[in-house]
């Protein structure tokens, strides 16, 4: 039995070093029971190393990590039955069918009455139950991986980059499954570099960069506490408009070839910009003023883009 602690996961001053490389640098955070907690950061930020330490498959250099009240470095065998893991780049036995794979993992966990059909239904793989793993598409494989992570009805589920490498449609299908998990009240620890994923699914987001947690809170809190500017988007601008704004000392960023995004620090500056465009007789089709999104907050906080070519990289600075 696990201890009835307030937190599902407690991480205190966790450090992981590989020779000279500091992969995780004195990280501390807690994850509440029943919440979806997302680690948001680019590749190499230390997300997987941290999560693998909590999953008991890596050992910390220093610091303390407890999962369900148990020390991960001392209680591996007690912890493992209570967690479900979708590792990064999940893969399975090529020639084994979806149903057989779930039966296999349920035997590893010595599940007495595994609800294989229920799991297949949950991840929407009913039509593919007799399909061998090698014949599944990337999205279907990830959904099978999530089902495997749930085979032992775990208290805490770790999903390491569950939608990486999937096309947008497959990604949304995976998110639907994750929504289902959230409804079931599972504690979910998610690592991702997809902003939409964190915004859509997470109760708490921790922004991690270069092994350190930079900021943490709900997506709304993160935006509120870091949004000290506005993003002005002008649609279908001509070259003249672009030049006028540039001459006013802003750095307009071209978005989708015809739109530009401008970071505006003071609300008073907004009418100044619009008037300047009007006075010059320049054209634009529409405008939009909004607070920055989480990706832009991430960029502001870390100075690095989440993914190569991501929206924030092209977005307002």
């Amino acid at each position: 039995m696990t201890k009835e602690t307030e937190y599902a996961i407690e991480v205190d001053n966790l450090t992981k070093r590989y020779g000279d490389l500091l992969a995780v640098d004195d990280v501390s955070f807690t994850v509440n029971r029943g919440e979806v907690f997302a680690f948001l950061g680019p590749n190499g930020a230390g997300k997987t190393t941290t999560v693998e330490i909590i999953e008991t498959i890596r050992t910390p250099t220093s610091g303390k990590v407890t999962l369900l009240g148990m020390d991960v470095t001392k209680k591996k065998h007690s912890i493992v039955p209570h967690i479900g893991v979708l590792p990064q780049g999940f893969s399975s036995f090529d020639r084994i069918t979806v149903r057989e794979t779930l039966q296999y993992y349920s035997r590893l966990f010595s599940c007495r009455k595994p609800d294989i059909d229920g799991l297949i239904e949950l991840v929407n793989l009913k039509d593919k139950a007799k399909e061998q793993y090698k014949n599944l598409s990337g999205g279907l494989r990830q959904r099978l991986g999530i089902a495997i992570a749930l085979v032992n009805d775990p208290e805490v589920v770790f999903l390491d980059e569950p939608s990486t490498g999937l096309d947008p449609r497959a990604r949304r299908e995976v998110w639907e499954v994750l929504h289902g998990l959230k409804k079931k009240g599972k504690t979910v620890f998610l690592t991702t570099h997809y902003i939409e994923e964190a915004e859509l699914l997470a109760d708490t987001v921790a922004i991690i960069s270069k092994g350190k947690i930079i900021s943490m809170g709900s997506p709304r809190e993160l935006i509120e506490s870091n949004a000290d500017y506005q993003v002005l988007t002008l649609q279908s601008v001509d070259e003249k408009t672009f030049e006028i704004i540039r001459r006013m000392g802003y750095e307009p960023v071209l978005n989708n070839y015809k739109d530009i995004r401008i970071r505006v620090e003071q609300m008073d500056d907004l009418p100044k910009i619009l008037n300047a465009i009007k006075d010059a007789g320049a054209l634009y089709l529409g405008l939009d003023v909004r607070k920055p999104n989480l990706e832009e907050v991430f960029l502001k906080l870390t100075g690095e883009a989440l993914r190569e070519g991501s929206a924030a990289e092209r977005g307002a600075e």
Partner: protein, 371 residues
């Protein structure tokens, strides 16, 4: 260690093996092909008949009689070459390796020797041969022995030195019966070594081992599952090899518990080596290369295919350092010579080796990511 977990692992591995038709075919069929090919070669060597081309320049009754004597020896199937043909050119043009020429005047010389006791009279038989042919030397040795017999008979004096041969074995064995245990040893080595290295490297590369390490399965469960799976495959492969050998070549081999003991030791030794290689070979390609580097010297130098006595002395010494040599020796002691003491000696040596590499293999097997 939990039997349910081990059984689940073996079940998955056997299902994968059964569904991978190509792997299954090569695992089972490769040793069978070897047995059929080498078995056929060795079987025909037991009743070998050489083609012998003879050019009779004398064309007399006596020369004809001599040709028939060669034929009756049973080792030769005679092809006659016309006297007018150039024998050297005939060898070159017809792909034969030897033409025996009976000279003109053969009968006249024979008559003078027989009826006039002219012991100075003799004939010279010429061999026109192609030295690049591998079987020509054997053919000439047999011919020389036949001619020596004819000379001895013509002398009319009984031979002084006679020979008699007695086999140390209670009954006569054919070469195929020495060959089968060697092929069993080699096949079990190959499937254990390559099976372990290929499977473990692939599972590690694909991240399946990492996934398994987040489940209750332990490293011991995993290794025991691998060993039992390889043992089951080895027993199936050996059973098929023996069935084919009995059905096709009607072999006579003694089968008892020693066979299972040596299969088990063979599996342990080479699964152990496989586990060590997997630790150091990061990718499937380098793992395959490392397995080849281990298995090829074993295959050819440890006496699986041919007796090590055919090799140079220094290589014979090297062969005795190879673990597969003791599996070969042990299996032959048990299955051919029925010599329990020799089997026990071989089992002790390979058992000691298997224990050491298996322990090293367990230590080398990486389970947690930081190991």
């Amino acid at each position: 260690m939990r039997l349910r977990v081990i059984a689940a692992n073996i079940g998955v591995k056997l299902t994968c093996f059964y569904r991978e038709k190509t792997t299954m075919f090569f695992t089972i069929a490769f040793p069978i092909v070897l047995i059929l090919v080498f078995g056929t070669i060795f079987m025909s060597q037991d009743n070998v008949e050489y083609r012998l081309c003879v050019q009779d320049l004398d064309q007399t009754k006596s020369s004809e009689q001599s040709v028939k004597t060669l034929e009756l020896n049973g080792k030769f199937k005679i092809t006659r070459v016309a006297p007018a043909v150039n024998a050297t050119q005939y060898v070159r043009d017809n792909g034969v390796n030897l033409v025996l020429i009976l000279p003109k005047g053969f009968e006249r010389s024979l008559m003078r020797r027989k009826f006039f006791n002219d012991f100075k009279e003799s004939v010279t038989i010429t061999y026109i041969y192609d030295p690049s042919s591998s079987s020509v030397a054997t053919k000439m040795e047999i011919l020389n022995a036949v001619l020596a017999g004819i000379n001895q008979e013509m002398s009319g004096v009984p031979p002084f030195v006679k020979s008699v041969s007695t086999s140390i074995l209670t009954r006569k064995y054919r070469f195929i019966e020495f060959f089968i245990p060697g092929i069993i040893a080699m096949a079990v080595m190959t499937l254990s070594l390559f099976g372990t290295v290929d499977s473990d490297t692939e599972l590690r590369q694909k991240g399946i081992i990492r996934k398994l390490s987040t489940t209750p399965i332990t490293r011991t469960d995993w290794i025991l599952s691998s060993i039992l799976y390889q043992f089951i495959l080895a027993v199936i492969s050996t059973a098929v090899m023996l069935l084919v050998s009995y059905a096709v070549f009607d072999v006579s081999l003694h089968i008892d518990a020693w066979l299972l003991v040596f299969i088990m030791l063979d599996v342990f030794a080479f699964v152990g080596i496989g586990m060590i290689l997997t630790r150091f070979a990061k990718e499937a390609q380098s793992a395959a290369a490392a397995s080849n580097a281990i298995s090829y010297p074993m295959m050819f130098l440890s006496g699986s295919f041919f007796p090590i006595e055919l090799m140079p002395t220094f290589l014979q010494g090297f062969a005795k350092l190879l673990p597969l040599y003791y599996v070969n020796e042990g299996l032959r002691a048990a299955m051919v010579f029925e010599d329990n003491m020799a089997a026990l000696r071989a089992a002790a040596i390979i058992g000691g080796f298997a224990a050491v590499v298996f322990i090293l293999g367990i230590m080398a097997t990486k389970w947690d990511e930081d190991q």
